[in-house]
Amino acid sequence: MTEQRVPVEDRTRFLERKELKTARVLSLIGLVFLWELLARIGWVPRLFLPAPSAVVGEAMEMVASGELFRYLGSSLLRLALGFAIGALAGIVVGMAVGFSSLAEAVVMPVIAATFPIPKIALLPLLILWLGIGEPPKVAVIALGVFFPMAINSFTGVRNADPLLARAAVSFGAGRWSVIRKVMLPSALPMIFAGLKLGAGTALLLLVAAEMIGAESGIGFLILHAQNIMETTKLMVGIVVLSLLGILSHWFLTWLERAAIPWKHT
């Protein structure tokens, strides 16, 4: 009887995850193609589902006439202002709460009590307080961004390695140095996670606010287009919003890489 030599096989092979790039691209192209086909053969009325080509055509026209930029401009202004105010306030409050036990004792119960409120429910109240112009829209976005930012900054500071703070103190760092040179950089990854979370919330609240009481902006465009049965324009609004979401995420990811070079080199 001869001995058989059997090489050992890697039995974990089925656990490997393959990178299927073509499938990823094909899936998107396939969806658009199917959509176009459905609209072309007329199974679905144009009024309910305009073809992608028609949406693109409409978007080009709106760009050419400058109409799209009017809507986009007022939306971007609200978004930028609300996001900046909310994010900045959230970072400052979150870091203060993370660092000072007094601030935590005072602020945390308030945050815990107000965090669960759906922020859009506050819009009528904000309109009552701030008038019907831009301030309540900016304020509702700022509020929506504030909470995830505050909570993430707080968690980031709390998760900072106490050894690094002690090392800093051993080299003569005082309170402000520790906050600026240890707590802030420690919290940056969490802060950026909060910014990405906040960007999604901001977009949601922007559209909701513009649908409730506005004469401008993408949210208004969508609602108005629906009222006058211009489904193609409505679709343009939705596509612009999704592009806005994707672009803001890309931008924040790029900014994160630039701001946290020690994680990516």
Binding site: L163, L164, A167, F171, G172, K181, P185, T265
Partner: protein, 261 residues
């Protein structure tokens, strides 16, 4: 600079209200330019002692003095940590400059001094690397450079090489001795490794298990500069044996005690 430790005790209160005595009435002085090692079994409060000297912990009783220090001036110590404790967001150069920044040294001089230390610890060419791009041994060289940068009168080292592999540890011990020969800092070196303590130090302070008491100060009768060949020297082995004899019983107790380690 001479460091005097007088009747130093430290008792920690834990959450259940029980108190744990970490250090009990330590009297010890470290002479100018001396390399003093502190050894003891796990849980003997070695690190506690170092942290109190560094001003990172309040003692329950007793005091630490630095001879010739004016009232209120900053204790001239710098610390090297077991876990390196480098700032991950700072480059090698940035880490070394940290202490100088906090002391308000101007940027130009900071850079110049940091560059000299990069040379001293053999990290030339790695100035702009981040800690995670370095090996453990290189990281601790940064830790040593960061401490030396502030030109401390007393260098405090808390098990600086125990997180490193055996070969790297031995090489760094020799490097540290060479640096010490050149700079002649007063060094307080905490370790659980008796061979390391005897090989490097002028005197070895031996602490008992919790509560940490000073049971002996053993002088090391080896010539300077030290070299690896001395690791086989009869006096080296005798001193190691002597110290091991002093703490063996304690170390055995620590092995079977849940609070040890």
């Amino acid at each position: 600079m001479r460091v005097v430790i007088e009747r130093l005790s430290k008792t920690y209160g834990d959450r259940s209200g029980q108190s744990v005595e970490a250090l009990q009435s330590i009297d010890l002085s470290v002479e100018e330019e001396e390399f003093l090692a502190i050894v003891g079994p796990s849980g003997c409060g070695k690190s506690t002692l170092l942290n109190i000297i560094a001003g990172l912990l309040t003692p329950s009783e007793g005091d630490v003095f630095f001879d010739g220090l004016r009232d209120g001036s900053h204790p001239p110590t710098a610390m090297v940590f077991q876990e390196f404790a480098l700032f991950p967001w700072r480059t090698v150069l940035g880490n070394i400059e940290f202490g100088l920044e906090e002391r308000g040294v101007a940027a130009g001089e900071r850079h110049e001094r940091a560059m000299r230390l990069v040379e001293l610890v053999g990290l030339a060419g790695f100035e702009e690397k981040y800690p995670h791009q370095l090996s453990g041994g290189m990281r601790q060289r940064v830790g040593i450079a960061r401490a030396l940068a502030v030109d401390p009168a007393v260098l405090l080292m808390d098990e600086p090489f125990s997180a490193l592999d055996a070969q790297t540890r031995q090489l760094l011990q020799i490097e540290l001795l060479a640096i010490w020969e050149r700079t002649r800092k007063t060094i307080l070196y905490v370790t659980h490794n008796i061979q390391e303590a005897v090989f490097m130090a002028d005197r070895v302070a031996v602490l008992s298990r919790r509560p940490g008491r000073l049971i002996a100060i053993v002088p090391v009768e080896l010539k300077r500069p030290r070299s690896e060949t001395m690791l086989g020297d009869a006096r080296f082995l005798q001193t190691v044996d002597l110290i091991w004899g002093l703490i063996k019983a304690d170390a055995e107790k620590a092995l079977v005690s849940p609070e040890g380690g």
